[in-house]
Symmetry: C2
Subunit: 224 residues, 2 copies
């Protein structure tokens, strides 16, 4: 939705950046909708072009292939994911860190539900594009967090639980509010999900996570 952008002073070599950027964003924004709803194979460049309000050939001027659009989109989607990845360090209080992480992931589900759905589609397909990410960045991150959890539990701050399974469950519980939104609206009897619903979700997930890890006492949400 961040479309408008105008750079007045266009330089010699870097000129017409504004047009290129504006259209690129328009295409990616349209593609996000189509890929989220139809998946990679079901999405058509024509539909992306229609939503972006550009002729199909113009879309192909900016992106050679459908796959290129998907790749570029995936990159823009993974950025916030990776950001929410940082945080959670040994020095944190486990309660605060986990509560904050859950909160941030629920917010992300609310703010970028389409991104979450595209990611879900990619996983269901067997991660043909993101398999490297899974094997490298994600794997490494989980290994790091495993060490942190181990240290926390050695210090008696929490139970000795599997960090891998813990995060798998946190991801599932938080992302489900984006991916399965229809189902959730139906179950909650809502027309639309409101702030209260996301708050209730975050609260229950947090409670389950903290108690499941044997973490007691109050915790303040880490808003990093």
């Amino acid at each position: 939705m961040a479309e408008k952008r105008q750079i007045r002073k266009s330089a010699h070599r870097t000129g017409n950046r504004s047009v290129r950027m504006r259209n690129t964003l328009k295409i990616l924004s349209a593609a996000e909708k189509v890929f989220a709803e139809k998946g990679f194979d079901g999405a058509t460049t024509q539909q992306i072009a229609d939503i972006a309000k550009l002729p199909k050939s113009n879309v192909h001027y900016y992106f050679k292939t459908k796959r290129d659009i998907y790749l570029a989109l995936m990159q823009s989607i993974m950025a916030p994911w990776l950001e929410s990845f940082q945080a959670i360090s040994v020095d944190d209080d486990p309660g605060d860190a986990l509560a904050g992480y859950v909160k941030r992931k629920v917010m992300l589900s609310r703010e970028r539900p389409l991104a979450s759905r595209i990611f879900a589609n990619e996983m269901i397909r067997g991660a043909p594009v993101l398999s490297d990410f899974l094997r490298n960045e994600l794997r490494k991150w989980v290994e790091e967090k495993t060490q942190i959890v181990k240290q926390w539990s050695e210090k008696g701050k929490m139970d000795d639980v599997s960090a891998a399974h813990l995060f798998i469950i946190i991801w599932a519980a938080t992302q489900t509010y984006a991916d399965f939104e229809v189902q959730i609206k139906s179950v909650l009897g809502r027309q639309n999900l409101e702030t209260d619903d996301y708050d209730a979700a975050a609260e229950l997930i947090t409670r389950m996570v903290l108690r499941g890890c044997g973490i007691h006492g109050d915790h303040k949400v880490n808003q990093t």
Copy 2:
């Protein structure tokens, strides 16, 4: 995978049931794979036919349209879902009932991962086919369980948590082991998920659920 079936004595009117049934099952089994991986729009009848080892026109002899295949498949998929729905009554011990439910749902993810993925795809698309199911059966089931949870909490057997959110989280946590299998294999560093992995998942989810609900003490898994 339940393909072989032979009814020797074919009766007059109900004759050639065996051929019809065998081919129908072959097609549905093939369709399960294709729909799970490609989604409804991405799936092609040609691919379904290829996997079923039948000419495309023969597939269309048994199912008029792609949508018909999808509909029939969806019915066969929802059956186990609905079965696992029952159970959980007021007379149960909440710990046993919830632990058993989690266990059953994890088993289902292991045994029918493709079914779970097709369901996930359907939800991501906005449930164009299952919207009635969501509004009626599912909604009603959750309302029932809400009453049960309320009664349990009034009897002091557990905390007063939102049954809706509770089940949403249980569904998400259990189904993620089917839907996001690639991601989970990567995170756990496994080539394939084994019994131990599913057991560990069920155990942690159960612990989080029970403690999150303020249910203490041992619990035996309800194998209904």
